[in-house]
Amino acid sequence: MIKVSRRALLKLDRIDMPARDPLERATCFDEVNIGLTPEEATVEAMRCLQCKTPTCIDGCPVNIQIDQFIDRVAVGDIRGAADVIRMDSLLPAICGRVCPQEAQCEGACVLDKKHKPIAIGHLERYVADTIRNYGLEPPVEPVEPSGKSVAIVGSGPAGLACAADLAKSGHRVRVFEALHKPGGVLIYGIPEFRLPKSIVQSEIDGLKELGVEFEMNAIIGRTITMEELLTEEGFDAVFVGVGAGLPRFLNIEGENLIGVYSANEFLTRVNLMGAFHENTETPILDLTGKRVVVFGGGNTAMDSARTPLRLGAGEVRVAYRRTEAEMPARVEEIHHAKEEGIVFDFLVSPLELLGNDEGWLTGVRFQRMELGEPDDSGRRRPIPIEGDVFDLDADVAIVAIGNSPNPLLPATEPHLKQTRWGTLEVDETTGRTTMRGVFAGGDITTGGATVILAMGAGRVAAASINEYLETGVWSETPEPALT
């Protein structure tokens, strides 16, 4: 390897992720980010200072040994890099693409102060994609069957990660999913142009190779009860990863007009049901030339705004009640959305949705806001500016203000205690719920969070399920979660 001085390295700029042309990409569902070339990845990896105490690792929720994998990339040992990542993360191709890096690993990189943090996410994606594209995954090692079996409820990142670890421990693992396709939000929520479905599919294929079974159309609590999984169906333990799939609405006048979608419905029609294909069988309102307004400021709002553009919308606006600085969406998504021509209206809050005599949406009445004192979340609270109200014409509105924990399963299983936020009560260090043999993790225990946290929670639970299956010990009173 060429020796470069630290000083020279510090001068180098972060390598930009090559992306498709904004005008071209906004008309199709191809992935926006193209991926680093080997040369770009090597140079970016060489920029890493290989810190003695790599602060970046603390920023990663699953503590990937970032300095080590980047060191491998710098010398072109991609297989070695993948081995390092694999110790802590099972879904690098996905997390490399969708983690809020600026708030996690990259935000904690020492170079962040100079505004040039290492592109850790892009490098992680590069490693995972290279391994997948060249078929370099390590062969599946045969494991001694343990004779135990575990049911996984929900096939989002939490369930998939938990399934992987348990299958590798030799347990028989069966994933039960309510929908007809596995993947959770990765399939029905996050659009193709941000996370190609073939990547999610290859993760699921990998699990099938490990021997994990998948049962679709199985709504636990309805098709099969929780109790039955543990008795008649004979599972020794259950992991619940049913996510936060309950869409929140604004509870304002006009919300049931035709043309008002929840982000979940809109994105499900497009992603899961393929309503963007020309010969789709699932309908979606014709957006050609239409004015679309999206309420919210998170990743879901960005996806809900960029998708209509690709379906031919004339104008898409995002209405957020705080300012750009408070937006919870990934910085890259906001940047991409702006490049594509999405208009942002900050410090506005919808008061009422306006409709015509036939019940179709025609516009939105907004209240202008200003920022007041910080609230519990530390963000400055938006407060209405008295009398500052205005109307905006709109044909379609998409409500993307967040999701609550999915109530279906807890509602049908009285032994699963819920917090007052509707999340499942679990012992955070083990994922144990209040029902013997049942563990939980992901959005159903945290409320809408991130893919990496869900994956991490699935793995934590897998470890304690292993322990429980081995020892049979179940402490009856798990510490209730603080949050």
Binding site: A178, L179, I219, G245, N256, N264, T268, E281, L285, N406
Partner: protein
């Protein structure tokens, strides 16, 4: 893949389809529904479980061919398969013992949907009157089956070709005037259910309507099925599908059900324009032997 055990036409455009779905059969209670996909690229549509046989592991659906998906489904025969069947979804009907008669008002395929509720009410010891309507004689469904359960049947046809001439609501008004009515269940086209609610409102007779909004997942995840009941927004797939008919905003439901009318008629005509061969190509993956191979 979910194998079809029996399939037969019981009226023009109405098919009775029995499906092998043991887990759903075991859990089903009157009033619940399934979400079905017919072909590998097909949409998800809700259909009520009309009957279930836990021992045989089967459920029975009645489907009225009104659009592309239901049309395709109606072309399936025994030995063919459905790609997906998920359920049972929704809350079960509350079947109580009433002081007065229990009246079930069904229109068209709604009669088939109301059938298990009528039977369950009869099994609870209620006097049950079924007012079943159809455009013409062929559309009056399940009359004999209902009578077999000891249910009094009042058939009505729009054209008077059979039973009473006129709307089911007129027959209902007479029943309400003649005897004490404890409860009315109504299932059918939205305007019919709305009219039924109007008949029973003055006498404050408990009236329950099974709503049929457009759905996607059926598990409470999308909110597409939202309806307004007593001024509040409800998700019909998890909070319903049955609601107090006097509180339902039927106008809203009727409107929301027209959201995709242009798309639906385009789809239907594109299906109708297919020649036999292309038509069969669509169904090939779920036809008999082929579908069974995919299962194994």
């Amino acid at each position: 893949m979910y194998p079809i055990l029996e399939a037969e036409s019981i009226a023009p455009d109405v098919r009775r389809i029995v499906i092998e779905a043991p887990k759903i059969a075991k859990k089903h209670r009157a009033g619940q529904f399934v979400i079905v996909r017919v072909t590998p690229e097909g949409e998800r549509i809700p259909l009520t479980i009309a009957e279930s046989d836990a021992e045989a592991g089967s459920i029975t659906l009645f489907v009225q061919a009104i659009g592309r998906t239901t049309r395709l489904m109606s072309e399936l025969e025994a030995e063919d398969c459905l790609v997906d069947v998920a359920g049972p979804l929704g809350r079960a009907s509350e079947i109580n013992r009433y002081d007065g008669a229990a009246v079930v008002v069904g229109g068209g395929v709604g009669t088939a949907i109301a059938y298990p509720i009528a039977c369950a009410l009869a099994a609870k010891g209620n006097r049950v009157v079924a007012i079943i309507g159809g455009r013409t004689r062929e559309y009056v469904l399940l009359e004999n089956e209902l009578r077999d359960h000891g249910i009094e049947v009042i058939p009505c046809t729009d054209d008077g070709s059979y039973g009473r001439k006129g709307f089911v609501t007129e027959a209902l008004a007479d029943v309400v005037a003649d005897e004490e009515v404890g409860v009315v269940f109504t299932i059918g086209p939205v305007p019919m259910m709305s009219a039924v609610a109007d008949v029973t409102r003055p006498g404050e007779i408990e009236t329950i309507a099974s709503l049929n909004p457009i759905m996607v997942d059926g598990t409470g995840m999308c909110g597409g099925c939202r309806v307004e009941v007593g001024g509040e927004t409800k998700f019909a797939c998890v909070d319903g599908p049955e609601f107090d008919a006097h509180e339902v905003n039927f106008r809203l439901l009727q409107r929301r059900n027209t959201s995709y009318r242009a798309f639906e008629s385009r789809q239907l005509s594109s299906l109708e324009s297919l020649d036999h061969e292309h038509h069969e190509q669509l169904l090939a993956p779920v036809r008999g032997a082929c579908a069974r191979r995919a299962m194994s």
